[in-house]
Symmetry: C2
Subunit: 110 residues, 2 copies
Amino acid sequence: MVLSSEVFSALADPTRRFVVETLAARGDATATELAAELPVTRQAVTKHLAALGEAGLVDAHRSGRETRYRLTPAPLGDAVSWLEEVSGKWDERLAALQRHLGETSSESTP
Amino acid sequence: MVLSSEVFSALADPTRRFVVETLAARGDATATELAAELPVTRQAVTKHLAALGEAGLVDAHRSGRETRYRLTPAPLGDAVSWLEEVSGKWDERLAALQRHLGETSSESTP
DNA sequence: CCTTCGTGCAACTATTCGGTTGCAGATACT
DNA sequence: AGTATCTGCAACCGAATAGTTGCACGAAGG
C-alpha cells in the first residue's frame, strides 16, 4: 500500500483545497482569477498550483497569454482507495475482536 | 463544505500514515512499539501521535505505566466525503459540458 | 528499598513552507 | 509602434515542523 505522499500533502493546505473545489466547480481558471477570490497574491496561487501539479491533481494549458488550469482528479481516487483500505482493515479487526469476545464470553471476565 | 483541515495535514506525513496503517492492522500499540518499527526515536513518534490525536484519528489509553494508542477512524470518513464531493462536482461538470457540446454541435463553432 | 522500564516535558536545530516583493518576457489592444 | 496585461522566475522572510538530546517522574519487579 504505497501511496504518493504528495496527494495528502497537497490537500493539507486550505488555500489548495479551495483551489481544488473552485476548479471542480468551474472547470477552468487562471492563477489571477483564483487569486481574485483569495486573500493572497497571484504568485502565491501559482506556487499552490505548482504543488497541485506535482501531485498530479491539476494540469496547465496555455492559450495565448493566459494559462488555464484544470482539475485532473485521478489522484483523488487513489486517496479514497487508501482511506477505504485503512478503514476496511480497522473494521475487520473490530469484527474479529467481536467474534473473539463472543467465543470467550463464557470464560473468565477479569 | 468546511472540513477539518487537520485530517489531511495529519495524513500528509509518511510516518504518520505508517502509524495509522499499523494501528488499523494491530488495533493497539504504544509509542515505543511503533518507534521500534520506524527509523525515528520514540519522542518523534509521540509527537506524531499527538498530531493524530488533534486530528481526532487516534486516542490514548493509559494502563499502568504504558500508554496504548488506538485508531478512531471517523475523520477518515469525513475526508472520503470531501473527496467524493469534489469528484462528484467535477464529474457533473464534465457531463454538463458533454451535454452542451451535443446541443450546440449544429451551431456556429467560432 | 532500590533498580529498571516506560513515559512525558522542555530546549534546541535544521529544513520546509506559505507568503511577499521585484523584475523581465511574451502577448493582446488601439 | 507603443502601451497595457498576464505570466514566470528569483530572492528573501517569518513561522511551522520533523527531528534530536537530556532529564525528571511514576509504575513494576527484585
